[in-house]
């Protein structure tokens, strides 16, 4: 077992241990699958109450799959999701049935596409009050009041004007505000946000991000913020976890990771981000090739194909586990000290 990041407070809200999701590659209708895509392959992290953790990585790294597992849209193949919220202690990986309702009241999700995440035939009221309606909480006029409160909270004022509109009458930014309202209607303690601003115009992103941060602080909500945009992650998150091919390769406080990345992949990722300042010339760390799917991966380090610092130690040992390399900063790499000392790229 790896040495895990120590949580900031004594009680973590969420503890993920060895979470895995393997998808079978179908070999035909009647043959049992022998190949599996290791979309998420044993990840560990904690989120403290009120904390915002960013899960960053490129497409195919498993971040969206992780998010979906945390809200139980997908069942994990393995691992545990320990959720400790007040007097609600569960290993969510196994929860089902009537227990689900209590879980759903505490964990919610904000989706990426403001145009697709709302049923076009239902009013804003229906959409936001759906969690209440499904769990049969409150009477209709109580729900109305609740929805109005929430619409006001997310900045859609006067809320009466929005209550019975349909999604197509709202702009993208307004729809995402409704999505935030829907996520918060049950007063959850944990919200998974899957790229909530990537489909919005640049000038509107900030207002949605600020809204989420502000409400998170006021209502004591923790976030798992999934994004491929490191600049957004910097703005929104207290800590960042970098994923590659189903594994977390680096995790630590945001500013620490951005200023002192230690894993070769993190370095490459950060150096590839274009900067909105033409006077700065950045030097990208070159890594070759593109991301492949992790189908039946070998035991060695996942990054070995593309890593500019791949060496013998990486080939002969299993995939490195997260080790502490600084103040709450964990890296999964055998050659961290050598690279820091100035080792040259081998390829």
């Amino acid at each position: 077992m790896s040495a895990l990041p120590a949580p900031r407070t004594t009680e973590s809200l969420i503890q993920i241990r060895d979470l895995k999701k393997h998808f079978p590659v179908s070999r035909g209708m009647f043959r049992a699958p022998t190949d599996f895509v290791h979309a998420v392959d044993g990840i560990d992290f904690d989120i403290a109450p009120g904390e915002s953790l960013g899960l960053v990585g490129e497409s195919g790294c498993g971040k969206s799959t992780t998010g979906r597992m945390l809200v139980k849209l997908m069942e994990p193949t393995n691992g545990s999701i320990l959720f400790k919220d007040g007097d609600y202690h569960r290993d969510v990986a196994n929860v089902s049935g009537s227990d689900m309702k209590a879980f759903r009241a505490r964990v919610q999700m904000i989706f990426q596409d403001p145009y697709e995440s709302m049923n076009p035939r239902r009013t804003i009221f229906d959409t936001v009050s759906e969690p209440l309606a499904v769990q049969k909480i409150g009477r209709v006029h109580e729900r109305e009041k609740r929805v109005l409160d929430l619409l006001r909270l997310v900045g859609l004022t006067p809320p009466e004007n929005f209550l019975f509109r349909f999604p197509h009458e709202l702009s993208g930014g307004q729809r995402q505000r409704v999505a935030v309202a829907r996520a918060l209607v049950m007063n959850p303690t944990f919200v998974v946000a899957d790229e909530p601003t990537s489909m919005l115009d640049v000038s509107i992103r900030i207002s949605i991000m600020e809204l989420m941060t502000k409400l998170g602080r006021e209502l004591g909500v923790s976030y798992l913020y999934i994004t491929h945009d490191l600049a957004v992650a910097r703005y929104m998150c207290d800590r960042i976890a970098v994923m590659y091919l189903g594994k977390i390769v680096e995790i630590g406080p945001t500013e620490e990771i951005l200023a002192r990345p230690k894993h070769p992949y993190t370095k490459a990722l950060l150096s590839a981000v274009p900067l909105p300042d033409p006077t700065i010339k950045r030097t990208p760390v070159e890594i070759k090739g593109g991301i492949s799917k992790a189908i039946n991966p070998g035991p060695e380090c996942r990054f070995i194909q593309r890593c500019p610092f791949a060496a013998e130690v990486c080939r002969t040992n299993p995939h490195p586990s997260l080790e502490a390399r600084g103040d709450r900063h964990f890296v999964a790499c055998y050659r961290v000290e050598e690279i820091e000392a100035g080792a040259q790229p081998t390829q």
Binding site: E58, S203, L230, R234, Y235, A272, P274, P276, P278, I280
Partner: protein, 351 residues
């Protein structure tokens, strides 16, 4: 001062003379309205900019600002309900808007080519990539190139975008996202155009692949002496690859100038607020400034300056009069009555 660069051509590698002071494309006072059932949408309103030989110009703006309409206008690819009410598009001195359909068809792809938004997903899945590129060559060079010449040319195209020649015989689903985008760029290069328009070329790509594609485009541009127009909503991308940039809002161009100048000294409130609402991974983690409101409905655009409903400095004049261009020197111009107040926004936002 001329720079000599190699250019890809059919017969042999020629050198294309590039004179950065000579304009290749001049858009002059372009006005275009779409006619729809509900009325007229004022999609492009008095847009002017110049692309010199060998220059990379960026068009930045949010959705609905008209940048893609401008790009499609350059190729005359807009639907029939698009009416050009004024202005000229001069390519090598010739007004493209006055050409007939057949004449324009001759120039399309040979003089100006385009990498469309989402083109990487528009590959026909049932044909090989090489066959689809050959279709382009057949359209323009039927009878002029033999099959072998076409094949050699395509292999050269692929190598110039960093793809191995044997991928020509593969199907689109065998390409990764980045490779598909490279193939699209290869197709745009097929007829050796002088100008390439890239509409959101890297929006759907991961950050590392995006970096590779942008480098590739830059290299192609320099090696082949081409001019480029980059269209994007991502300011960071535009900052890195362009020499000049035009900022568009609601169908109008609000600021234009050398990239470094516009980024370091933005003079239009919209440009400034756009820059201040873009998070960055470097620099101080400063307070970002959100832009209130939404872009206007172009069916009934606001009177006067189109930005005035969202502008923190709107005056009475802004609500009624359309601000004219003000030349700030060194090719930097802005369309705003109060541009001198823009640095003051910095302090105003510090509160």
């Amino acid at each position: 001062m001329t720079q000599t660069r190699k250019a890809l051509s059919l017969e042999n590698l020629e050198t294309r003379q590039i004179d950065p002071t000579k304009p290749l494309l001049e858009v002059d006072g372009l006005v275009m309205h779409y006619k729809i059932k509900a009325g007229e949408v004022s999609a492009i309103e008095d847009v002017s900019f110049t692309v010199h030989q060998g220059e990379a110009v960026g068009l930045v703006g949010e959705s609905g600002c008209g940048k893609t309409s401008v790009a499609l206008s350059l190729l005359r690819l807009l639907p029939s309900n698009a009416n050009y009410l004024a202005g000229e598009i001069r390519f090598d001195g010739e007004d493209l808007l006055s050409l007939s359909g057949e004449e324009m068809r001759q120039r399309r792809w040979k003089d100006i080519a385009m990498v469309f938004q989402g083109a990487m997903n528009s590959w026909n899945p049932v044909y090989r990539v090489g066959d689809q590129i050959r279709e382009t060559l057949d359209t323009h060079y039927r009878g002029v190139m033999t099959y072998d010449e076409q094949r050699k040319h395509m292999e050269r195209l692929f190598s110039s975008v960093g793809l191995p020649g044997e991928m020509l015989d593969r199907y689109p689903h065998e390409f990764s996202g980045g490779m598909r985008q490279r193939a699209v760029i290869a197709m745009a290069l097929a007829c050796s155009p002088e100008l390439i328009i890239a509409d959101e070329p890297t929006t759907a790509l991961d950050v590392i692949v995006q970096d590779q594609i942008l480098k590739e485009l830059k290299r192609i541009q320099l090696e082949m002496g081409m001019s480029m127009i980059y269209i994007s909503h991502d300011i960071a991308v535009i900052a890195e690859v362009t020499d000049s940039i035009g900022v568009m809002y609601a169908g109008k161009m609000v600021e234009y100038g050398p990239t470094k100048a516009v980024f370091s000294r933005p003079r239009h409130p919209y440009t400034y607020l756009l820059l201040r609402s873009t998070p960055s991974i470097t620099g101080p983690r400063r307070q970002l400034a959100p832009l209130e409101g939404e872009p206007p409905d172009l069916l009934n655009p606001p009177a006067g300056c189109r930005f005035h409903p969202r502008c923190p400095f709107a005056t009475e004049q802004c609500k009624t009069e359309d601000p004219p261009w003000v030349d700030l020197g060194d090719g930097h111009k802005v369309a705003c009555f109060d541009y001198q107040r823009v640095p003051a926004l910095d302090e105003a936002l510090q509160r």
